[in-house]
């Protein structure tokens, strides 16, 4: 094929333009650390990374939810433990009636039992950091009145927090109440008839009236049943704490995995890119060198010696 002067110019312009475009792309990748910035850089990687990014966002939200759930389940477990201790204490007080049945002593015990009821009311009516009642269901009402009786405004709906896709942890436990309709919870169980507050109030009443027989035969078993009921809740809240802890660990692992995937898809492989940069630079340099040598050659350079006549 016949080659003309313009052919060289076009080739040099074309090859230098191509090299410059590649250098600009590589320079951008190195300076930003991203091999994929817009979808056209690598449509498939971009789309996969976008999906991963959405997943990361969801996982971060789940992590926040798990943090709230950790606090809530820890509060629940602590409250159940406290109530368990109060009821154990109440049982011990009631047991002392068997060996000491003086009306004065029973009155003193009744006073101490009343203090326990006050403490129970305080624990049951506690609020979270947002000022919400922990154990009144979703109605945000105190489970017990100031006089130590059930508040009929509470409900039995329990709060759950989803800490992973499809993994909702029960973070709300309800105190429950007797009455109509009754609400089952850690203070009242309609299936067994266990009534924690009722048992304490009845014990106090019997102690005040000096009815040692009722205390020993009726109230003490009722208190023991109450203790058993709360024990179940101590166990279930501890299980919830474990579930949240496991979910948190899993979330951290998933987050790390997703972040690693996004990085693999979008981040620059510096060693590879640096080698590519060097290759393109060499190619560019060679192209310019060859071009400048060829362009400077012409018949014009050798025409000075041509005779004119």
């Amino acid at each position: 094929m016949r080659v003309t002067s313009q052919t060289y110019s076009n080739l040099i312009i074309s090859s230098s333009q191509s090299a410059q475009q590649q250098l600009a792309q590589l320079q951008q990748e190195i300076s930003t650390g991203d091999s994929v910035q817009v979808a056209s850089d690598n449509p498939l990687s971009y789309q996969l990374a976008s999906q991963d990014q959405s997943m990361i966002s969801q996982l971060n939200a789940y992590s926040s939810a798990a943090s709230v759930a950790t606090t809530a389940t820890a509060q629940n477990n602590q409250a159940m433990t406290n109530i368990h201790q109060l009821l154990a204490q109440a049982g011990e007080y009631a047991t002392t009636v068997s060996s000491d049945t003086s009306s004065t002593d029973m009155g003193t015990i009744a006073t101490e039992m009343s203090d326990l009821l006050d403490q129970l009311t305080s624990v049951v009516n506690q609020k979270d950091s947002n000022g919400n009642y922990l154990f009144g269901g979703t109605a945000n009402q105190p489970p017990l009145t100031s006089s130590g009786t059930y508040n009929s405004a509470t409900n039995g709906a329990t709060q759950t927090i989803e800490v992973q896709q499809g993994n909702a942890v029960q973070t709300g436990i309800v105190a429950g109440r007797s009455g109509s309709p009754p609400v089952d919870g850690f203070l009242y169980d309609s299936s067994t008839g266990v009534d924690v507050v009722g048992a304490l109030n009845q014990t106090i009443t019997d102690l005040k009236s000096g009815n040692a027989t009722s205390v020993m035969n009726t109230d003490l078993p009722a208190l023991n049943n109450a203790l058993n009921l709360v024990s179940q809740y101590v166990g279930s809240t501890a299980a919830s704490m474990s579930a949240v802890s496991a979910a948190t660990t899993s979330l951290t692992q998933q987050l790390d995995s997703q972040n690693a995937q996004v990085n693999n898809l979008t981040q620059t492989n510096l060693p590879n890119i640096t080698v590519q940069l060097q290759q393109i630079q060499n190619q560019y340099q060679a192209s310019l060198e060859a071009g400048s040598r060829i362009l400077s050659l012409s018949m014009l350079n050798y025409m000075g010696s041509v005779p004119t006549s």
């Binding site: 994929v36 979808a39 976008s50 990014q53 990361i56 969801q58 926040s64 919400n132 989803e162 004119t308």
Partner: protein, 492 residues
Amino acid sequence: MSSTYNIGLNASLLMGAQSLNVQQTAISTIGNNISNINTPGYARQRVNIVTDQQTGVNGELDMGSAISSVESLRSPLLDSMVQQSLGAKGYADNQASLTSTVQDSLGEQFSSASSSSSTSTTSTGSGAIQSAMSTFFSSLQSLASTPTDSSARAVVASDGTELTSAINSAYERLQSTQGQIATAASATTTQINQLSSQIASLNQQIEFAQAASGEAANSLTDTRTADIQTLSGLVNISTTTQSNGMVNITLADNSSVALVNGIDSNGAGTTQSLSATYNANAAVPLTVSGSTTGALGTGIPSGGSLGSDLDVANNVIGSPAASGNTGLLGAMDGVANQLISQLNTQNKAGYDANGVAGGVFFTGTGAADIAVSSSITSDPSLIAAASAANSPLDGSNALVMSQLQNSASIVPAFQTMVGNLGQTVSTAASNQTTQDQVTQQLQTQQASVSGVSLDEEMTNLINFQQAYSASARFITIISGMFSTLNNISTAG
């Protein structure tokens, strides 16, 4: 073999003078070639020199050299292929540039930043809208955990507003880009009409010049070829060369739309001028019309930069859902519409912080007007986070709302839309590279026939210069012979 006997000295002198003319013309042609080495469309010219044969009483006589023609070296096949390739290149170049601009207008970019991840650097921000979507749904998820937290409600309202603003802005930018493409298309049709006029004028000049001299009008033909190649880059055309040297031009997609017919263009005779019409709310926003045929039809013309203007404006950017529901605008309307519909349905299914059934969360019908309800922005307690009445601690409805991000028609649909656009941009860039190479190869082949080589011209220049010197010496010698004869006669 013819002989040259019985040629007189006068005839020899004339032959020498004729030779000087021939060599001088050849040298002038070389000068012209060198001068036009960088002129677009120029084809190198060659002086065709033949033996000047004359018939005398003794038969055929060779009387030196003569110029039979000054030929412009062209390959009609390569010219035609380059013309078609330039049409495809015009389309590919413009397509790559416009689709990249559209991608920039959408504004979805990845950027990396350090984060709290324990083992690696985290990429954050997958584009303005995708980030806003993630943030919005995450804030709903947070609200589900803390439904009585008024600040969590305010964050949901605020993040919702940021999301709708991002959607509104991107939609507006895309429509603005579409308008700019329409303006460019209009300017392109003006340029097409001007070139048509120039080509028709050149047709006329070429016919006159050839009729007057009987020779090919090389320079005018070169200029016309350059104009036709420029026109090919703007719109895909078909050309037909007539016996009188004129070129007729029609649209390749519709041969009944004549741009140039002999000396006619822009509506004269059977020709038409082109114009572009833009209506942002039409199913096909950008159309091209012929002055007599009217709208040319969807996707016509399909080539040249005008063809890519139409493709990007009508298919890549597309039209709103209410009009044609195509391209990015249609897809964004679809995502926004689903966002509005699904969030509103779920919000209405729940109960707000006051125990009242939820109302509308988003207002509007599509990406252009989607907004968070003014009731909610002014009072975030109206967000229906609960699934049951009078359950302020219940955030289960907010959780269901947050899970709508996984609905195929919202976040995944938007991600697919962005991915598809990326594929379109990538394909356009790839096509541009391929078409550049094809055009470059064809132009190199064309240059191998028509291009000027300085080395070649310089070599020929020396040849003709030496021939010129020799001819002059020949005349001197003949002149000397005349003197010799004169001296004989004087001496006698």
